[in-house]
Amino acid sequence: MSSPEQWTHPEPGVGPAATAATPTAEQVIAGLRATSEGGPELVQLLTPEGERVPDSRWDPYVADITAEDLRGLYRDMVLTRRVDREANALQRQGQLGIWVPLLGQEAAQVGAGRALKPQDMVFPSYREHGVAWCRDVHPTELLGIFRGTDHGSWDPLAKRFHLYTIVIGNQVLNAAGYAMGQRFEGKVGDDDGEATMVFFGDGATSQGDVHEGFVWASVYDAPLVFFCQNNQWAISEPTERQSRLPLYQRARGYGFPGVRVDGNDVLASLAVSRWALDECRHGNGPVLIEAFTYRMDAHTTTDDPTRYRLADELEAWKLKDPIERVRVNLVRHENADHAFFDEVQAEADQLAAELREFCVNMPDPPKERMFAHVYEDGNPVLAAQRDAYLAYASGFEGGGH
C-alpha cells in the first residue's frame, strides 16, 4: 500500500470534485455530477460491451482468473438474480411480506463475496443476497426474515456472515469493533491474516454511525473494508442528496484509501475487493470501496420508483447490465458454449423451484418463539409472562374460537 500520507495530504488528482473551500458554481456542479456519474477514476476491467480492458494496477489481482473461474462468476450472478426474481414474485403472490431486490447489483456483490477468504467476517446490510450466496448462506435461509417467521435463521458465526441489519448504518460500527478485535488478537499481518468487510449503501453514508465507523476503524488501524454500494438511490433520494463529493473521496478525509469501482463489473469488483482485503489482512486497513452501480428495481416491493425517477435512466443502465457483459465476453472468446448457458439456466430454474417449494411450506413459528432467546441467562419476570400467555392461549386450542 502507498504511504498513508499520500491519502492524507495531497489534493485529489484527476477527476471532478467540489473540494475547494469556497467552490465555484462550476465546481459544485462538477461535484454533484461526480456523485452520479462514474468519472475517470472508475476502475473497470470489463466494459459494458464485454471488452477486457487492460489495467496495470488492477490486473494482477485477477491474473489467476481462468475461463472456468469467469464461468463460475457468471453462474453466481445468474443464480443470485434468479433467486432475487423468484423471491420478488413470491412477494407479489403473497408468500412473502416484503422483498428487497438486488437486481442490478449482482456483480458488485459477487465480486466482493468471491474475494473473501473463509477466515474473513462479513457484516451485511439487508440487500446482500449475492454476498450471502458467496458465504454459503442458502437462499432459503433468507426467506424467514421476509415471510415473518424469524429475524434471520443462519448461524452468523459459523457462516462468518452477520445477520442482516435493517437500521441504516448500525452494522458499520459493529463491523469496526469486530475488526478491532481481529487486530487486538494479532490476527493481521500476513497472507493468512483476517479481515472484515461491511456492506452499506449510498444513503447510509449520511448516517453518523458510518462516520463514526470511519473514525474508529482508522484510528485503531482496523482490518476493515468498507464496501459501499452506491446504487444511486436511497428509496427516492438520489446520491446528490447525500453528498456533494464522490463518496469514495470521503476516505481521504479519514486518512485511508478510497477507490471507486464499476459495480456492474464483476472482475473489477473482485480485483478491487481482493486488493482491499489484502491490505487489511496485512495490517494496512481500513479501505473504502465505492461500488458504482444501479438499483434496477424498487427499493423494496412496497416502493414505486415511477414516482421519483424516469424510465430512461433504467434503460441506460440496462445497457450496463452486470451479467450480460460477462456472457458476451465468454462467448466472444469461446470460453462458454450454448450448453453451458443452458445448464446454468436450468440450474437457476431448479434453484428457484426449490426456493418456492421451501417458501410455501414454511411453517408458522410457534408462539414460544416470541419469548425465546430474549436473554441468555433468563429472566423470571419474562418467564412468568410467557407461562401466563401460553396457558391463556392454550385455552383456544381446538375450541374453534
Binding site: L157, V172, N174, G177, Y178, G181, F184, Y375, N379
Partner: protein, 340 residues
C-alpha cells in the same frame, strides 16, 4: 478449640476487609474482573490515561495496557457500536458513558443492536457487555450531567439493568455484571462515589438480580435504588427516633426486578412509598406501584405513593435540592400513607 478457630476466621476477615469508597470499590471490582478474564476490556472517553473523569478506571490502563483499556474517540454511538462487534468477536467489553445525559447518541445502538442481537440470532450470538453510567444529580452540575435515564433501558426487552447503592455492593455487582452473558446497564450513583463502606473481598455476595432488605420495620415500606437508598435509610433513622419503624429495601436490580421481598414487606406493613430521582411519569416507581397493587391488593392500607423527581427536564442546579427526593419529602409521603 473453638475460640482459636473463631479468632482465625476473624483475623482472616480483618485481613481481607478494608474501608473503601464506592468509586474505589468499582475500581477494585473492575481490576478483579480484568485479572480473572483476559477477554474483559474497558473502553470509553478518558478512561485510560486520565482514569475516567471520576477516576473509576484509575490505573487500569497502566497495568493492563492500551489494548485492554481503550481511550476511545469521542462518540458514544461509536463506543457502544464497536463494543457490539468486539463482543461478537468474543470480548467482554465494559463501556463507560461519561455522564447519564450523554448516553442518547448511543441509544440507537443500545436499543437496536445490543438489546436485540441475542434474540434476532435465536441465541447464537451473545453480547456479554456492560455499559457503566454514572447517573443522578446532587453534584451541582450543568445540564445533561444529572439525569436518571434508567427507565428507558428497563423498558427495553433484551437489556438487564442494575444499580448499586453502596461501596460493598459496587465491588461485587460490577464483577457479576461483567460475568453475566446478557448486556447489562450498570447505573452508578455518582453523588455517592465518595461514600465509604467496609469491603470484605473474601465474602460471598448475593446474586446480582436480587433486592435486599437493608432495614426491617413494621410501619411502612420504603423501596428505592441507587443514590436515594441512602436518603431512605436516613429517613428511616429519623422516623425511628419518633417511634416509627420503616422497612427499607434496596432494589439493586431494575430489570428484571426482584419484587418478592417487596411483596412480603408490603403484606406486613400495608404501606409502600417508592423513592427515585427519575421523573415520575412512566417510571420504575410506577412499575413497582402497579405490580404491588396487583400482588398485594388486599394487604394495602393506602395507595402506593411515589416520591420522585418532577416531570420536568433536570433543573438548573440551584434548584436540584427541590427536585431531588430528600428526607423531608420521604417522611411527608410516609405520613400521608400512614394517615390515609
Amino acid at each position: 478449640m473453638a475460640t482459636p478457630v473463631m479468632n482465625q476466621a476473624a483475623d482472616q476477615a480483618a485481613a481481607s476487609t478494608r474501608t473503601v469508597t464506592l468509586g474505589k470499590s468499582l475500581n477494585l471490582g473492575l481490576r478483579a474482573a480484568m485479572e480473572a478474564d483476559p477477554k474483559v476490556i474497558v473502553m470509553g472517553e478518558d478512561v485510560g490515561k486520565l482514569g475516567g473523569v471520576f477516576r473509576i478506571t484509575d490505573g487500569l490502563q497502566k497495568d493492563f495496557g492500551e489494548q485492554r483499556v481503550l481511550d476511545t474517540p469521542l462518540a458514544e454511538s461509536g463506543i457502544i457500536g464497536t463494543a457490539v462487534g468486539l463482543a461478537i468477536r468474543g470480548f467482554r467489553p465494559v463501556c463507560e458513558i461519561q455522564f447519564d445525559g450523554f448516553i442518547f447518541p448511543a441509544f440507537d445502538q443500545i436499543v437496536s443492536q445490543v438489546a436485540k442481537l441475542h434474540y434476532r440470532s435465536q441465541g447464537r450470538v451473545t453480547l456479554p457487555m456492560v455499559i457503566r453510567v454514572p447517573f443522578g444529580g446532587g453534584i451541582g452540575a450543568v445540564e445533561h450531567h444529572s439525569e436518571s435515564p434508567e427507565s428507558y433501558f428497563a423498558h427495553t426487552a433484551g437489556l438487564k439493568v442494575v444499580s448499586c447503592s453502596n461501596a460493598v455492593d459496587a465491588y461485587w455487582m460490577i464483577q457479576q455484571a461483567i460475568r453475566c452473558d446478557d448486556p447489562v446497564l450498570f447505573f452508578e450513583p455518582k453523588r455517592r462515589y465518595y461514600e465509604k463502606g467496609e469491603l470484605d473481598v473474601g465474602a460471598t455476595p448475593d446474586p446480582l438480580f436480587s433486592s435486599r432488605v437493608l432495614r426491617t420495620g413494621t410501619a411502612a415500606t420504603l423501596v428505592s435504588y441507587g443514590p436515594s437508598v441512602k436518603t431512605c435509610l436516613e429517613s428511616a433513622a429519623a422516623a425511628a427516633e419518633e417511634g416509627t419503624e420503616l422497612e427499607v429495601i434496596d432494589l439493586r436490580a431494575l430489570s428484571p426486578m426482584d419484587l418478592t421481598p417487596v411483596f412480603e414487606s408490603v403484606r406486613k406493613t400495608g404501606h409502600l412509598v417508592v423513592v427515585s430521582e427519575a421523573p415520575e411519569e412512566a417510571s420504575l416507581a410506577s412499575e413497582i406501584a402497579a405490580r404491588v397493587q396487583q400482588e398485594c391488593f388486599y394487604s394495602l392500607e393506602a395507595p402506593v405513593l411515589r416520591v420522585t423527581g418532577f416531570d420536568t427536564p433536570y433543573p438548573p442546579s440551584k434548584l436540584e435540592e427541590d427536585f431531588l427526593p430528600d428526607l423531608d419529602r420521604v417522611l411527608d409521603a410516609v405520613d400521608r400513607s400512614l394517615g390515609w
